[in-house]
Every structure is written in C-alpha cells, then in structure tokens.
C-alpha cells in the first residue's frame, strides 16, 4: 500500500484544486459579488496558478515542502483575506505533516483548519471557509477511526464539506466583508466555504486509489 501522501500526491492535490478553482473562477466571483467584493475567484485563481508554476519549477522533494511552497506562494500573490487564510492553511498543514500515512494526512488537515480559525479569529457558524473545512475534518477523522479506507474517508470528507458549504446559505455572516451586510448576508452561499469545499473535493479526487 502506497503512502497516502508523498510529494507527487500532494502536487496532484494542489494541481486538482487549482484546476477546480480555475473552472469555477467566475462562479466564485459571482458569489463574492453578492456579499463581498467580487474578487474571490480571480484572486484564488491567480494564486493557485502561481503555486502550480512554482511547483513545476522547483519540484519539492517532500510533501511538507510542497505544501510550504504553496503556502508561501499564496501569501505572496493573493492578498485580500484569502491569501493569508489559504496560505496559513497550507503552512500549518506543512508544519504538522509527520510522515505520509492516513493519520498524518488527517492531522495535517486539522492543523490547517486550526490555523485558518486562529488567523481569521472565526468559528464554525460564522459563514466562512471553516463551515466547509470543519465538518470535512470531522468526517475524515470519524471515517478513519472506523477503519474505512482512505478513498472512502476522503469521499465522506468531501461530501461533508459540500453539505457544510450548502449550510452557509441561510447563515448571517459574522466575519469578513460579508458581515457588514448583517441580515442581508443570509440567503447567499459563502464564497470562502465554496472554495474550501473544492479544496477537499480535490483531495478526494487526487488521492483516490492511495489506500
């Protein structure tokens, strides 16, 4: 059985995330136009395109180095709130990645989630990225604890992230620019939760078949 996470697998994950964001770029920007400032899709697309180029150029040898390179590229190129938040996610995940097995992957994702929460001073229910990432980490941990294979566990995580994303629709935003709308932010799907669900979806696709 291959390790869940080696440098190649990590790169495939990031590449798939970049592909999904590029494909959904306009949709993400439209969601952001409703309750934010209409730049989420274009900013994240720009940052992930740069991250993929950086990985192509440098081919980091370890999974942690891949994630760290993605982190610094996002922090350097994205700006806004999503640059520091996604950058912190990958940076903390890289720092926590100890080994390449399934438990290490789950711990890294959890560390990334905690990083986003502390950098953004947000909690689940605030209508943010966390509303997709938090249930995804919970579902992943639970599935792995039940001894289910990684494929299934990541699929469960992706589904939990999608449900979490959908659950942001009726929420009133408490963080970020959408919070300024108060009650008027209800009725709109959160763009950050939407892109975060793509991140988990990308992991499920890219790491399929790795035990």
């Amino acid at each position: 059985m291959a390790d869940a996470l080696d440098a190649a697998a990590c790169t495939t994950w990031v590449r798939e995330f970049a592909r999904l964001v590029h494909e959904q770029r306009d949709a993400l920007t439209q969601l952001d136009a409703a309750i934010g400032d209409a730049d989420h899709g274009s900013n994240l697309d720009r940052g992930l395109t740069a991250a993929v180029s950086a990985l192509d150029a440098a081919s980091p040898a370890s999974p942690a180095a891949v994630l760290a390179m993605v982190a610094t590229t996002l922090i350097r190129t994205v700006g806004g709130a999503s640059g520091p938040l996604y950058g912190t996610f990958f940076l903390r995940a890289a720092g926590a990645l100890d080994g390449g097995d399934r438990a290490a992957l789950a711990a890294a994702l959890r560390a990334g989630l905690d990083g986003v929460a502390s950098r953004g001073k947000a909690a689940p229910g605030d209508k943010t990225m966390l509303d997709a990432l938090s249930p995804a980490c919970d579902a992943l941990d639970e599935a792995l604890a039940q001894g289910r294979p990684l494929d299934e566990a990541l699929r469960a995580a992706a589904e939990a992230a999608a449900r979490g994303r959908d659950a942001t629709v009726p929420m009133v935003a408490r963080k970020g620019r959408a919070s300024y709308l108060g009650e008027r932010s209800a009725g709109h799907q959160d763009p950050g939760a939407t892109s975060a669900a793509l991140l988990v979806e990308a992991a499920a696709t890219a790491l399929a078949g790795r035990g």
Binding site: D37, D39, R46, R76, L85, R119, R177, Y180, L181, G182
Partner: protein, 333 residues
C-alpha cells in the same frame, strides 16, 4: 461598462507606470508595487506606510510625499496588498526612527499587515507600530461583524500623522496622533450606483435607478440598507445624523468636515452635498474649523459620497495646516 484597459490583469501595473511618469517626486518600485517618496528613507524621521486594494485612487499612492505618507502599497483592485509589499515598503522608509503602519479595518488588510509586521520583526530591529482605522458608523454591532470599517478618516490620519512625523516627532507620539484622529473621527457613506471591478467585468451589485445604498464601505460592497432615492438635503441628514449620534462633536474647536466623492459623482454635486452638510451641522450647533471636499477615497467609478467628521483641537488644526506636497493633497509649500 466601458473602461480604459489593455488587459484586466494589468490594470494596476499599467496605472503605476503612469503614476511614475506623472510624478517625478515619487519613486515606484514596480516589482513590489510600492510607491515611495523619492527621498525615502528620510533619516531620523518616522516612516509612514499605508496601503490597500487599488481602485480607491488617489488613496493611497496619491498621498505619498512631504508631510504625509512615505510609502504606499498597491494591491490588486479591491484586494489588500500582500505581506512582501508591506515588508518592502517598511524597509524602504525606515530612517531609523521606526515605522507607522496605517491600516484600514478590513479583514484582508489587517491580516496582511499583521503578517508583514511579524516578518519585519523576525528579520530586523525596526520598530513597527500599527494603527487601524475604523470610523464607519454604518457598522453598528462589532460583536457580530469584523468591526467597523476604516473609511474616510484614513485620509485625515495620513495627513495629520504625516505632519507630526515631518516635525520630527517620535514614533510613540506620531502613533498617538493617528489613534486620536481615528478615535475622534466618524464616517457614513452612500452609493447611488455600483461599480465594476475590471477583472469581474460587470457591476458588483445591481442598484435600480430610483434607489440608493446607505452605509456602504469603499469596495463596491452593498451597504447596510437600500432605500428610495431622496433629495440631497435628506441624504445629507441620513449621513450626518448617525455620525453625530455616535460621538459628541459639540464644544471644543469644531470639526474638520470631509465630503468625499466615491469616484463617479461630479464636483458640482459634491459641493451641493457639502452645502447640505454645512446646513445640518449649523442646525446642530457644530462649527466647521476646516474642510475637505473632493474625490480622495474612491470606489472606482461608483457614484456616491461619504461624510467624515473629525473632532478638532488646536494641535490637530495646526497639523492640518502644515505643508503637504503629494499628488492629491498639496498646500503650504
């Protein structure tokens, strides 16, 4: 929406080339998208750095120069700059007396400036103090939001703290002035139209001909509430009353009154609005010590305006009158 664009991805870089060509007093580091005073770093002077998303011109690059900012970082349109830019600006203005970061309270700006300050602290012994502006009274409940937004008062902070730094005051005093201005200023804005982010290509929100958004920020984000369009007199009341309700402006040395255009409102209408603001303040018994009317902190081509009132005192008025020489604000020299 028709715009002067070569490629939407190049808008900021192309505009900075023009800024550099138009203003030989400035030095533009195109790689970093940082605009500095040509004579930066000024030895022994506190350096002032601000920055934010582009699309708010003349803020911030238009306020770089003698008596105001030492450097400005230009982010993508409506997107805060990245930490590397702020680090480069901080290094570029460090004249040995420390650096003041002036940050508008928007989630992205605060996070990127925080990360930059951490990087500067890790790499050097440059002292950095950040002052966050949050003057927007449209945001009432800071418990359930990211806090009040930094809007019009930011321009006044940059002018007044900039004048204090130019006098050679130490970082602690310059920061104190910046906090005093931010703490004693309040703003409220209104949009008559939305605006179009170049990369998005269509208006951020739809606003019918007969309606307006009250309580907007500066990023084309929708406001607090949408109401029918009203005569200017009533709009001025809608803007000034919540400002007066939030802070006691009576007594003392009057106010600095700032009517700011959002980019798409002609001067004719801004002066008309200023006349209405003067009338509202007269009725409230508040004297105007100084004023500023014009496009200083815009949202691309949005039609609309904001009103900022700053409670003045002798020192602030003296700093206000001190010489300033920047592309957008220039007097006394």
């Amino acid at each position: 929406m028709k715009k002067f664009i070569n490629d939407p991805a190049d808008v900021v870089a192309d505009a900075l080339r023009g800024l550099a060509a138009a203003h030989p007093d400035l030095r533009v580091q195109h790689e970093d998208r940082v605009v500095l005073r040509r004579d930066a770093p000024v030895h022994g002077k506190v350096g002032l750095v601000s920055g934010g998303g582009s699309g708010h011109e003349p803020m911030h690059a238009g306020f770089v120069g003698l008596g105001m900012l030492d450097a400005a970082c230009a982010g993508e349109v409506f997107t805060s700059p990245v930490p590397d830019q702020v680090v480069a600006a901080t290094r570029g203005v460090d004249g040995g007396a420390g650096v003041l970061h002036i940050v508008k309270n928007y989630t992205g700006d605060v996070m990127n400036f925080e990360m930059a300050a951490e990087l500067v602290a890790a790499e050097s012994d440059t002292e950095v103090v950040a002052v966050v502006t949050d003057d927007d009274v449209a945001v009432q409940n800071s418990l359930y939001t990211a806090g009040r937004r930094g809007v019009g008062v930011t321009v006044l902070v940059e002018k007044l703290a900039g004048a204090a730094a130019e006098e050679g005051r130490p970082l602690s005093e310059v920061a104190e002035i910046a906090r005093r201005v931010s703490g004693n200023g309040r703003s409220m804005g209104v949009a008559l139209t939305s605006c179009t982010v170049p990369a998005a290509g269509r208006p951020t929100f739809d606003l019918p001909e007969d309606e307006m958004e009250v309580g907007i920020g500066i990023h084309g984000e929708p406001g607090r509430r949408r109401v029918p369009l009203a005569p200017a007199r009533e709009i001025a009341e809608m803007l000034v009353e919540p400002v007066l309700a939030d802070l006691d402006f009576t007594g003392g040395d009057g106010v600095i009154a700032f009517v700011n255009g959002m980019g798409g409102t002609p001067q004719l209408e801004l002066y008309l609005m200023y006349a209405e603001v003067v009338a509202v303040l007269e009725k409230a018994g508040i004297g105007i010590a100084r004023n500023l009317v014009g496009d200083y902190m815009t949202s691309l081509e949005m039609a609309g305006c904001s009103v900022t009132l700053l409670k003045a005192d002798d020192e602030l008025l003296r700093l206000w009158d001190a010489p300033v020489r920047t592309p957008a604000l220039r007097w006394g020299t």
